[in-house]
């Protein structure tokens, strides 16, 4: 439509006024729905996304380099800060990797405690996902509910290890402290409290027509693409592959527990959400079983303070809430690692975003990005 205005001395004529231009939108770095500091450079055609380039690195703290200057014990507190929403899992991955490097046997009780903590943390992490995903899509109520439940998990952690976010609970060869007296009963209470709460979230969200409209069929990620992009965790399972390190390469005591791996069918945003909801229930099941069978015994293998693993390399991976988290350690036989490489799920999952978001509307990118559950410190490290 042409409007004659004094600002435009020359009325545009001919083909030129029908030409459309691509428009570049900067989303972030400080955008509430990028969950941290990530900048998405969106090339838009009208409202349709033609290209997404995630610009990362705002939170880079060179943790891998820091690892070379810290002893194996000291580095534990840095693993907390790689993925602060699931520090227990990050701790766990480091422990598993170092123990593999040095061939340390971990007492049974410690393994069970690790599983309990890791699964509780998985629930907490998925609750944070649910909260932020819901509020990104405009549903405020689940946000409040999810944080209410997370508070109870965090209390359980504080009771055990004293912190609410950076737990630093696990140690090479075991865990730092035994659980307090009432931990077992409190956790059991929490698990039975959680199931109806998850049903509640589902009642509000899962079949809600507005929520369905925002998520169903949006941001498709087909299985071959997912595999090619090394997507892991709930996004991969949402695309339909039953792949979970806890089942396929059990570490700690996971082979002793009975749980299912939920998968999606279409690989859309809704499937990824649904997989996480279901995983919360399965995690609660694992916690219940582990509490039931919690063996007595020591909680820490003997590891000297000046711990020197033998020369060599080790690679270990675990299933963190966001996907596979792996550490590759090269040891030169001293108290400090020679090199540490950290594989984080968020980094790999983020690479699939440009494929998933292409062709969708700008409003959908919030849902698609949210459904990947990216933690930016984990991307940048």
């Amino acid at each position: 439509m042409m409007v004659d205005s004094p600002d435009r001395p020359e009325p545009l004529t001919g083909d030129r006024n029908l030409e459309t231009e691509e428009f570049v939108v900067n989303m972030g770095p400080q955008h509430p729905s990028t969950h941290g500091v990530c900048r998405l450079i969106l090339t838009m055609d009208g409202e349709v996304i033609k290209k997404v380039v995630p610009d990362i690195g705002f939170l880079h703290r060179s943790i891998e380099k820091i690892a070379e200057n810290r002893t194996y014990h000291q580095f534990m507190i840095y693993t907390d800060r790689i993925d602060y929403v699931s520090s227990m899992n990050a701790n766990h991955a480091w422990c598993v990797a170092v123990e593999k490097l040095a061939g340390i046997e971990v007492p049974e009780r410690a393994e069970y405690l690790r599983v309990i903590m890791a699964e509780l943390n998985r629930i907490a992490s998925h609750l944070v996902f649910l909260a932020s995903f819901a509020i990104d899509l405009g549903a405020v109520t689940p946000f409040l509910y999810a944080f209410r439940e997370r508070e109870r998990i965090v209390d359980l952690f504080e009771m055990t290890c004293g912190q609410r976010l950076t737990y630093n609970y696990m140690r090479i060869g075991g865990v730092s402290k035994d659980v307090p007296k009432d931990f077992v009963s409190e956790t059991k209470k929490f698990c039975s409290y959680l199931y109806p709460r998850v049903d509640e979230y589902e009642a509000i969200l899962t079949e809600n027509p507005i929520f369905l409209g925002r998520t169903k069929g949006i941001g498709l990620l087909d299985l071959p693409t997912a595999i090619n992009y090394s997507v892991s965790g709930p996004p991969l399972r949402g695309s339909g592959l039953k792949w979970d390190i806890r089942k396929d390469e059990p570490y700690s005591a996971y082979e002793k527990f009975d749980f299912d791996i939920p998968t999606g069918e279409n690989g859309d945003t809704w499937d990824r959400y649904k997989v996480r909801i279901e995983e919360m229930r399965q995690s609660a099941r694992i916690v219940e079983q582990a509490l039931e069978g919690l063996p007595e015994g020591g909680i820490k293998a003997k590891v000297p303070a000046r711990f020197r693993p033998p020369q060599g390399e080790a690679f270990a991976r675990i299933e963190a809430p966001r996907g596979e988290m792996a550490y590759f350690i090269v040891s030169d036989g001293s108290t400090k690692p020679y090199r540490v490489k950290i594989r984080t799920a968020s980094f790999c999952n983020l690479q699939a975003l440009p494929v998933m978001a292409r062709g969708w509307k700008i409003a959908d990118i919030v849902a698609i990005f949210g459904s990947l559950d990216i933690i930016l410190p984990e991307v940048d490290r």
């Binding site: 000291q74 534990m76 290890c161 004293g162 027509p209 303070a305």
Partner: protein
């Protein structure tokens, strides 16, 4: 027909969500009005680091063995050891003990490593100040902070050295309380009088 079913399902699920929300109307608030009400802290809470004193003598438990300073991952502890042992307790003591609260990560490794029940992370969490420099806590301030902190002796002080082995930098630090043999490296011997290298 399909459209009708969709409409029905949509309305049903919207109402279901609303019913769920309204069920929560009568519940008590779970939040606290912070400055007026406070959450009780757990016993193990890891907040500000303090130095503990002996309730009887009122002196610091710390023997300035440097273990905590060495284990601290962020090098937040700066301490200096006295030349002479204290005449009363026959122990060395720290002439300078500073913890930099701007870098401390509240990880608890120092508390775990200390063999003399001398350092502890407490449930204190309100330490905001206007001037960053005041976050460098010195020995006396840390001692004051720790005066009212109850603690139980979880680890016995190491028995006196029979024959202190020469300084062996590779000897395991007493992070392992379970270790039965008294590990003795010169800096860790509580009442040692003989001068050392």
């Amino acid at each position: 027909m399909r459209a009708a079913r969709q409409v029905w399902s949509g309305v049903y699920n919207l109402v279901l969500g609303l019913v769920t929300v309204f069920k929560h109307l009568g519940h008590k608030a779970i939040t606290l009005q912070y400055p007026d009400e406070r959450m009780p802290m757990f016993e193990r809470s890891r907040g500000v680091v303090v130095l503990l004193s002996d309730p009887e003598t009122g002196k610091l438990n710390c023997t300035a063995c440097m273990v905590c300073a060495r284990i601290c991952p962020v090098y937040a502890i700066d301490l200096e050891r006295s030349e002479e042992p204290d005449p009363e307790t026959k122990k060395r003591y720290p002439v300078k003990f500073e913890i930099d609260n701007t870098t401390c990560a509240f990880c608890g490794l120092c508390e775990e490593a200390c063999n003399f029940d001398a350092i502890k992370l407490t449930g204190k969490y309100e330490f905001s100040v206007y001037d960053q420099k005041t976050l460098l806590y010195d020995r006396d301030f840390l001692q004051e902070l720790g005066r009212d902190v109850p603690y139980e002796k979880k680890k016995k002080p190491l028995p006196k050295a029979k024959a202190a082995p020469k300084a062996d930098p590779t000897s395991p630090k007493p992070e392992e309380p379970a270790s039965p043999k008294p590990e003795e490296s010169p800096e860790e011997s509580p009442g040692e009088d003989k001068p050392e290298a």
